[in-house]
């Protein structure tokens, strides 16, 4: 792969077609840009080049294309978009892999399940709200030291480690047929929560201190838009860039909510 990057010859171009939009609620339109091939290029570096040279293939001067990015090493999730129709992070999408030949075309689109702010930049607030919905944290805030926490078993740590690699990028939601664009924020608390937050609820329920909020998390997952709204298309696990076993988390939370529902019915 490195060899092919270094031998990328001068004068070669890739054509990038981008689905653009000037602002929230504005209509979308397509523009294409020819970008010179550089060794080691990724989608982000191509977008940087376009920002510096905002001229379409028709020679028309246009506004720079807007996108979101952060870490540039596939751990923050901010630069997630549709690349040739597939959802993934643009920082780890190398040009030498996805467009190896001169004149190859790449299409870029913003994720379709979140409101577009501009061009390729979307507002993933609903995803962050869903983490609040299941209280995806360890409750240790207080005014005095609580001392050491309970012992964690290596077994559970192993399970939790994989779940903890979730970066809230939204790939699983983009691919999910049950998770659809909802512009009305008041509908978010009862719309399908999606695989990411279900898996995070499992992560913190498996944590010896985090499990203090277990019942609250399960209540949240039992309601409208909770884990039972999953349709088992299993697209989430196939597009997850961190290979998190999301469908296992969904089933695990299915079991936990089943037991929780029965025990709380008898507890009332």
């Amino acid at each position: 792969m490195i060899a092919s990057q270094e031998t990328a010859s001068k004068g070669q171009h890739i054509r990038i077609r981008i689905k653009r939009s000037d602002g929230p609620g504005k209509p979308s339109y397509w523009q294409a840009f020819d970008v010179p091939r550089e060794p080691g290029a990724n989608i982000i570096s191509c977008l940087q080049w376009i920002a510096a040279h905002p001229v379409t293939v028709d020679g028309e001067k246009t506004t720079p294309v807007v996108w979101d990015s952060g870490c540039l090493e596939e751990v923050c999730g901010a630069c997630t978009m549709l690349i040739n129709g597939g959802v993934r992070q643009s920082c780890s999408a190398l040009i030498s892999d996805i467009a190896p030949n001169d004149g190859d075309e790449i299409t870029l689109e913003p994720m379709s399940k979140f409101p577009v702010i501009r061009d390729l930049w979307v507002d993933r607030q609903r995803l962050f709200d869903s983490l609040k919905r299941v209280q995806a944290w360890v409750p240790i805030d207080g005014s005095y030291s609580l001392g050491a926490g309970p012992k964690e078993s290596p077994d559970k740590q192993g399970t939790r480690y994989t779940l903890s690699t979730c970066m809230s990028c939204g790939c699983c939601l983009e691919a999910c047929p049950q998770y659809n664009l909802e512009e009305d924020e008041s509908q978010w608390p009862t719309s399908f929560i999606g695989a990411a937050a279900i898996s995070q609820a499992r992560l913190f329920n498996e944590h010896e201190t985090g499990k203090q909020l277990k019942r609250e998390r399960l209540d949240a997952l039992m309601g409208p838009g909770g884990v039972s709204d999953c349709g088992n298309a299993q697209n989430c696990v196939k597009v997850c860039p961190k290979e998190i076993p999301l469908t296992e988390s969904i089933s695990a939370m299915g079991r936990a909510t089943t037991i929780h529902a029965i025990t709380s019915w008898f507890r009332r």
């Binding site: 607030q125 709200d129 609040k132 047929p177 978010w188 608390p189 309601g223 298309a233 089933s251």
Partner: protein, 299 residues
């Protein structure tokens, strides 16, 4: 980025529990009673194909088709005359099917299929599960309305199903007449083939997803193993369903009627038979001259 609203759910515990209960009841009704009934129903029907071999000594001299009619009629009579609380069982089924159908449509319309972008096998089944549900609702309605509730205007030539002449009247309803296939009969038969296939798929795939929903198969490996088991069950039910359909579509009305006639007369006598076919408007067939009504007929 816009700051979100307070995302603490504003739902009452009762609302949360009701949502969960409806979802789980939707899953449960698909398994019991609907799924269990489907298995029993298809296995019973398939005796039209293999009943000759279940008759053992009593099937001597009968062809496979004739033996099938005899065994099937025997089973239908047993269900109608010996199963207790039959109407209660039926009502439970109708209510369960209506509940599962109505909620199923509500749930199915909450999703948006995206097969074009994600053409995975699992995603195919997600979409097919919904399509087969819609097909299944229409088919079950037609099936029950015509054969159980007697809405004969929906059947070509208005053939009414009778549980005492089960195989012959079923063949007439599916073939379109008592004389063999008509163009309407072809349409009804195609509907049955599509409907049975859709419902068997819906049940087998539903059995697989139910194990995830209830949290029985958690690991991906367990889901795969259970998937193979469900596919095996589905294949078996498909075989049962299709063999009974083929047996019905190839059945000769007169031949079947004569066997059922003999069984009816053995049980109730000749006068009852005449009165019954007259009252129900069942088309009779002339017995072959050499055919006797059996040794026990004179009691």
């Amino acid at each position: 980025m816009a700051s979100g609203p307070d995302t603490k759910p504003t739902l009452t515990p009762a609302q949360i529990q009701r949502h969960f209960l409806l979802r789980r009841l939707h899953s449960l009704t698909g398994l019991v009673p609907i799924g269990v009934f489907l298995v029993v129903h298809l296995v019973t029907n398939s005796s039209l194909a293999w009943g000759r071999f279940a008759l053992r000594g009593k099937g001597e001299g009968l062809t496979v088709a004739e033996g099938g009619v005899k065994y099937f009629q025997h089973e239908v009579t047993f269900i109608n005359e010996s199963v207790p609380h039959l109407l209660l069982i039926e009502i439970t089924l109708w209510v369960s099917i209506a509940f599962h159908s109505i909620l199923g449509v509500v749930y199915a319309t909450s999703g948006k299929s995206n097969l074009q972008r994600y053409p995975h096998q699992d995603n195919w089944r997600y979409t097919l599960q919904r399509i087969s549900g819609y097909v299944g609702i229409l088919f079950i309605f037609y099936h029950v309305a015509t054969l159980r509730w007697g809405w004969t205007f929906l059947i070509p030539e208005g053939t009414k199903w009778s549980h005492s002449f089960s195989a012959s009247t079923l063949a007439a309803a599916m073939q379109g007449s008592t004389e063999g296939f008509t163009i309407f009969g072809v349409a009804v038969s195609v509907l049955y083939m599509v409907g049975v296939t859709a419902l068997v798929f819906h049940f087998a795939n539903g059995l697989w997803t139910a194990a995830i929903t209830w949290g029985i198969t958690i690991s991906a490996k367990a889901q795969k193993r259970w998937g193979i088991a469900c596919a095996g069950l589905g294949a078996g039910l498909m075989l049962a369903g299709w063999s009974s359909l083929i047996a019905t579509m190839t059945l000769d009305y007169d031949e079947a009627h004569l066997i059922e006639r003999q069984m009816f007369i053995e049980k109730y006598g000749e006068a009852e038979y005449e009165a019954y076919v007259e009252q129900k408007g069942i088309e009779t067939a002339d017995p072959q001259p050499e055919q006797s009504t059996g040794s026990g007929g004179g009691e």
